[in-house]
């Protein structure tokens, strides 16, 4: 862990298990009057890949966006319950969501590089932090692109626009851009659903390499992908239209896919609905 918990800081909540990176307790989420999630409790383990699966509209992405407080940007949303990062309540009064987002990076469904050069895309985060020296930036850009397995393809065209790359390359550029600020946690919101199969393979390999240093949470519609890449899996379900979604089952991926405890999980992974 690159950021140790500060026990004197507001919102410090001790957790029993030091291998827990993010702990969620009794989380409810509202869009205005509509409750989207109810009573979610789970622990996300450090240096692992956790997959969120479930049918469309079951609140997986909403839940994911609670971790870096991206939901704050939508007017009328409300979070109740507790989410801690390294034991610290991320919704405690006074916690700066901007600083939180520097520790928890996010990859979106649609690759979204900035309309600027490849180099500037990757240097964006470090520059926000105040890094100015060319040599330092060069090094961060190179290291990040290497970690995202994109360096070989772009090392001679760093000045070219990020949008000139293919969809899969753009997504890896976005990963490099996030890695450049050395986040503890990487949130991936269906990162592979808008790109070609070869690139999907590359990104899945990348996740396996990255998890030794980064905690990864991935939302995916593709159950094979969840089974391939994740250590733990959470299954979400909105049983009745208009009612909040809930966490049905959470456990080791191997167990969820071979011997699910809940009938609904079994029905979903065997393709009976969803």
């Amino acid at each position: 862990m690159s950021h140790t918990l500060a026990e004197h800081q507001p919102g410090f909540v001790p957790t029993a298990d030091p291998s827990v990176k993010i702990a969620v307790k009794g989380l409810d989420f509202y869009y205005g009057d509509f409750q989207a999630l109810t009573d979610i409790t789970c622990d996300i383990k450090d240096n692992s890949v956790t997959a969120f699966i479930g049918p469309s509209g079951c609140g997986k992405s909403t839940f994911l966006r609670c971790f870096n407080r991206m939901n704050d940007l939508i007017i009328g949303t409300k979070v109740e319950g507790l989410i801690t990062l390294d034991g610290q309540d991320i919704y405690a009064p006074g916690v700066d969501p901007v600083d939180l987002r520097r520790r928890i990076g996010m990859i979106f469904q649609q690759p979204n590089p900035f309309p600027m050069s490849i180099y500037d895309n990757v240097a964006y985060g470090p520059r926000l932090h105040g890094m100015k020296k060319k040599a330092e930036l060069d090094e961060v850009v190179e290291t990040s692109l290497k970690r995202a397995n994109l360096w070989k393809e772009v090392k001679d065209i760093l000045g070219r626009g990020g949008l000139t790359l293919s969809g899969g390359q753009q997504q890896r550029l976005c990963i490099a851009r996030v890695l450049a600020v050395q986040p503890d946690v990487l949130l991936m919101d269906e990162p592979c659903s808008a790109i070609d199969p070869t690139s999907v393979q590359k990104i899945e390999d990348l996740m396996a390499e990255l998890k030794s240093s980064v905690t990864i949470i991935i939302v995916t519609h593709n159950m094979q992908q969840a089974a391939r890449v994740s250590d733990e899996t959470a299954f979400f379900l909105q049983e009745v239209m208009g009612e909040p979604a809930m966490l049905v089952e959470f456990g080791r991926t191997a167990d969820i896919f071979t011997s699910p405890k809940d009938k609904r999980t079994e029905d979903y992974i065997t393709g009976r609905f969803g």
Partner: protein, 310 residues
């Protein structure tokens, strides 16, 4: 026999199925007539512009051939009654008025656009945007009137003198070009995909960092576009400028000193000018024509550049 419906019993929707119908003469002529009508409309628009250019060029040409391009364009004095037709002070006047208005109006307009596109809640935006667009529809004589009665006395207090001069014109023109620049800039900001904003916020950027480091650079060409069109509006504006600028055809001497521009001088002199004086006014029109053509061409070039980079 069964009761099953048979294809042959169905009423035909197409009438006789035997032969493909030929295009009727009536349809053919209607199509052709419409096509030509639209062609005519397009041609008329182009012809109008061409006709004006030819007419203005024809009437203004002698100023170049008889007084001389050098004496006309770079002459330091506009004293048409004494045969001095130098438009340099007027040209400089136009530039001074336009550049000042842009310097005042652009930050205001871009700021308004950023507010509308990135900060204002939808409700506020739905009121403010139409209000700004409305500014574009106000007749320029109304702006001039406002400048003359309200603004001029204030400027007079500030600079001394009567308040006729570039400062009053700058403020009035700045207000007049805000709608052009603000709406086009807002469109440019709006056309940036939402994912780009989301990505910036998710990187831990603040709203201001997102605007200044990602959105404004991304909308750069669109904003330059907007400024050039605002410039076209400012340099061509006549009535409002005429009413507040003082109309003294000398060189720029100060913010509160009367000045004249190409457009305002044409209007001032047109009623009584004759002979070579009148020809000189047409010559000034040629210059204005060329300047605005240059601006439009620049905008076209920029939009092509934008298509290539995106």
């Amino acid at each position: 026999m069964t009761d099953e419906p048979r294809m042959e019993d169905m009423p035909s929707v197409r009438g006789e199925v035997s032969n493909l119908k030929l295009v009727s003469r009536a349809t053919y002529f209607k199509e052709a007539a419409l096509k030509n009508l639209f062609l005519l409309c397009a041609f008329m628009a182009v012809a109008g512009v061409a006709l004006i250019f030819v007419f203005v060029g024809y009437r203004g040409w002698p100023i170049f051939s008889e007084v001389g391009a050098g004496n006309f364009l770079f002459g330091m004095e506009w004293l048409p009654t004494e045969g001095l037709f130098g438009i340099l002070p007027l040209f400089v006047g136009s530039i001074v008025v336009t550049v000042g208005a842009l310097l005042l109006g652009t930050p205001l307009a871009v700021g308004a656009a950023v507010f509308l596109s990135e900060i204002a809640p939808p409700k506020v935006r739905s009121i403010v945007r139409p209000a700004i667009e409305l500014l574009a529809g106000v007749p320029s004589v109304v702006y001039g009137f406002f400048g003359l009665l309200i603004l001029r006395p204030i400027v007079a207090d500030l600079t001394g003198g009567l308040g006729f001069g570039p400062l009053t014109a700058w403020i009035i023109l700045a207000i007049m070009i805000v709608p052009t620049i603000a709406t086009l800039t807002e469109d440019a900001l709006h056309s940036i995909p939402g994912g780009v904003r989301e990505a910036s916020y998710a990187m831990g950027a603040t709203t201001w960092q997102t605007i200044s480091r990602v959105l404004l650079p991304a909308a750069k060409i669109g904003i330059v576009d907007a400024i050039i069109l605002g410039m076209g509006r400012a340099i061509g504006e006549t009535m409002a400028v005429l009413m507040v600028v003082g109309n003294a055809p000398g060189f720029f001497r100060g913010m509160g000193e009367p000045l004249s521009t190409l457009t305002s001088q044409i209007v001032m002199d047109m009623p009584y000018a004759s002979g070579m004086h009148r020809t000189a006014l047409f010559g000034m029109a040629i210059i204005l024509f060329l300047v605005s053509m240059g601006l439009v061409l620049t905008v076209r070039l920029l939009s092509r550049l934008r298509e290539e980079t995106s």
